[in-house]
């Protein structure tokens, strides 16, 4: 195997494994904020119980995210040295900003958040949680910004100062607000919130099937199902569609590969299920006539650029991109169906709690949302090929020339083994947390004793001993 392929396999492997975790923590963060707000508003101890349970899951997911995330940051330098020199001025500064503004916030408050169930009153705990979630969201924002620059670069000038061509920053504003940044950020955040809410839905449905923690499980579903369903609908109709329009405008060659469009045409059809053959340049399957043109340009007569306008050596791997993309959109539409049916069953005579088949579907939802986010990410990254920076730098020119094929082969094998073990242990521990269930009901008097203002927290005095309440 060539060095390029091995470098790509390693990066794809490690980033795909990493990408299991951040969407879960972003989404769970949203749910934890809802629980925290409810705890402050209502003083009902059940919200604290729910928060304690899900914070435990959050801690596990977060630790996995950090451990696998450091690998990403190091790998730009280790495996993609040419790329690192080329984009250091721009991409590097966005990563560094992520570190200073996002990771530090997350890492700093994580300890408080994880200990909050036993150490902090409702308001301070909510504050700590909000800081961690804000950190995670900033983190996603900077990373999406960096990725968007690779997809739709601008605000740079190319120069060779004696160390090969490098992209220098000419406008920070343009670097931050590349055309694809906004659509990509919203598309990814909404997807992440769907992953988090589906994790909660899935665990709650499992409890209902087993008839355990029934009260808490119904509360979990009441909170997350409406959020999940609304997000699913918005994702298909607004955020996903925006992203597709953006790709059609700025990266038409990528859209052509996603939909298997070989001939530039108006009234282009959209394939729902199908297969594509780049050798014969045909795409077959169940197609809706003119739908792609309609989606791209809000008119059936919009011209969609085909791969015939793109030199053959600039094509992505069309069948792979086509299939992962269709996996994602079909999953997206399935989520609207799942959320919709579950909501109807819930509203209609409150039957959701007895519909065992529906609960089983909900249990499976976390797997489906994970598949959808992963295949979405693959669409974005594989669709960008053969470019590492769109139409500026080829992936085949970007890897570290000084790293031997044998070394990369060895580390690919190392990560494959390591990640298999880590995933196994992660699932094992997640299963244990879920089977153990939420902790016992906390005593309201005990919660009252926890510090709930800065002064109380830093004096380590309980309310009782400081005399108030």
């Amino acid at each position: 195997m060539s060095a390029e392929v091995l470098h790509r396999i390693q990066f794809g492997l490690t980033i795909s494994f990493h990408f299991i975790f951040p969407p879960m923590s972003l989404g769970l963060g949203l749910v934890l904020i809802i629980f925290g707000v409810q705890a402050v508003r209502t003083d009902d101890p059940k919200w604290r119980r729910l928060s304690m349970f899900w914070t435990r899951v959050y801690g596990l997911v977060f630790a996995m995210g950090i451990a696998t995330g450091i690998v990403q940051e190091f790998q730009f330098g280790t495996n993609w040295a040419v790329y690192s020199r080329y984009v250091g001025n721009i991409f590097g500064s966005l990563l560094a900003a992520e570190g200073i503004f996002a990771f530090m916030l997350e890492g700093g408050f994580l300890g408080l958040m994880l200990a909050g169930g036993r150490r902090l009153g409702n308001r301070l705990w909510l504050f700590a949680t909000t800081m961690v979630v804000a950190g995670a969201t900033f983190s996603a924002t900077w990373i999406i910004m960096a990725n968007s620059w690779m997809q739709t670069p601008q605000g740079y000038e190319l120069r060779d100062d004696g160390h090969g061509t490098q992209a220098f920053m000419s406008s920070f504003r343009d670097v931050v607000f590349t055309p694809s940044f906004g659509p990509r950020l919203w598309h990814t955040l909404v997807a992440s919130w769907m992953v988090g809410t589906s994790l909660v839905l899935s665990v709650a449905a499992y409890y209902l099937l087993k008839r355990r923690h029934v009260q808490l499980a119904t509360t979990m579903i009441r909170v997350t199902l409406p959020v999940f369903t609304v997000l699913a609908v918005l994702q298909v109709t607004v955020f996903g569609a925006n992203m597709a329009t953006e790709v059609a405008t700025r990266q038409p060659a990528k859209l052509a590969a996603m939909e298997g469009v070989y001939r530039t045409q108006d009234c282009a059809p959209m394939t729902i299920v199908g297969w594509t053959n780049p050798a014969a340049q045909t795409t077959e399957g169940i197609q809706v006539p003119c739908l792609l043109s309609l989606l791209v340009g809000q008119s059936t007569s919009t011209t969609v650029q085909g791969l015939d306008d793109v030199p053959r050596d600039q094509w992505a791997d069309v069948p792979v991109v086509f299939h992962v993309y269709h996996l994602m959109i079909n999953a997206g539409m399935l989520f609207v169906l799942i959320g919709g049916v579950a909501c109807v069953l819930w509203a209609w005579k409150r039957k959701l709690w007895e519909q065992r088949w529906m609960l089983r579907v909900l249990v499976a939802s976390i797997v489906l949302t994970q598949i959808a986010t992963l295949s979405g990410w693959w669409t974005a990254e594989l669709g960008r090929q053969p470019w590492i920076v769109w139409q500026l730098l080829r992936t085949s020119d970007a890897f570290s020339p000084n790293v031997g094929v044998g070394q990369v082969g060895a580390t690919v094998a190392m990560f494959a083994v390591l990640y298999t073990v880590v995933l196994g242990v992660f699932l094992f521990l997640l299963d244990r947390i879920i089977k153990a269930g939420p902790p016992d009901e906390p005593e309201p008097e005990e919660i009252d004793l926890l510090p709930d203002t800065w002064a109380e927290a830093f004096r380590h005095r309980s309310r009782a001993s400081s005399g108030s309440r």
Binding site: G69, V82, I90, E98, I100, F103, G108, A115, H163, N402
Partner: protein, 339 residues
Amino acid sequence: MWLQTVWFVLYVAVIAGYVILDGFDLGVGMLSVFVARDDREQRTLLNSIGPVWDGNEVWLVVAGGALFAAFPLVYAALFSGFYLAMMLVLLVLILRTIAIEFRSKREGRRWRRTWDWFFFASSSGITLLLGVALGNVIRGVALDAGGNMDVSLVDLLNPYSLALGVTAVAMLSLHGGIYLTLKVDGDLLRRVERLVPKLMVVFFVLMTGMVAWTAGLDDEVAGRFRDRAWTLAFPTLALASALGAWRLIRATRYLAAFGASAMMIGLLMATVAAGLYPVMLPSSIDVANDLTIHNASSAEPTLMVMFVFALIGLPFVLLYTAGVYYFFRGRVVLDDGSY
């Protein structure tokens, strides 16, 4: 350009921040198998770093990001040139995270003992590897005119760098030991208190040897100190901090001793930096191939934007880091939610 020097200083500061902060939790890991006698004591050790180790590790991420942004050529050369060593660092970082997170999630002696050894081995491994990497940077690496190098793992493990790695292990064990005197009590505390002075002596002997070795090894480094005599203040103050730490340990004033230890580490990093400046990655092939702050940095617009970011971000980081440490001050009390 003044920004290049500013970023060199900031970069050294972030590295020093990492070594001081993650240093003590790595030290706790390295001491764990020697001081903990039973499960309860091992848990006490884990919980002494429990709320903060994740945040400490973030400093390494920031250091990586800052190097990428401010000195991309150094980042590319160093990380790809030390490929297998870097991959080993990543491996032990992941194993350490898993060891800390997974140990207490299950009862069972064998399960817990296994992860205890992983915790010990990975903490030692990270310290040793990063020490060895620093040793190679000080010695110089086979950097070609294109800014590339390919240093095999065997070449990295030269006597000087290995000795520096061992010294780093001693230094962070000491730092972690002093931290533990603030966090544990009972028999465990007494054991740690007996160990700390011994660690101090071992570290002091090793460090003295390293200073002599470095001065004899490298004319360039020694020359830079001669040319900029004021930078001798760093090693002098580091020595003063070390002696101060010794007196404070004897007087059992551990909080102040921890401060002195942290100051000493910071000053030692500053000493290394002063010995290298303006070079960041010396080439052993040809001085002309050296990567310096002048030929390896990003251009002014990037450095300026990043400088503004640092000015805005770092005060907040220091503020809430201090706040979190203050909140979790005092000795460890185990409860059912602990590690």
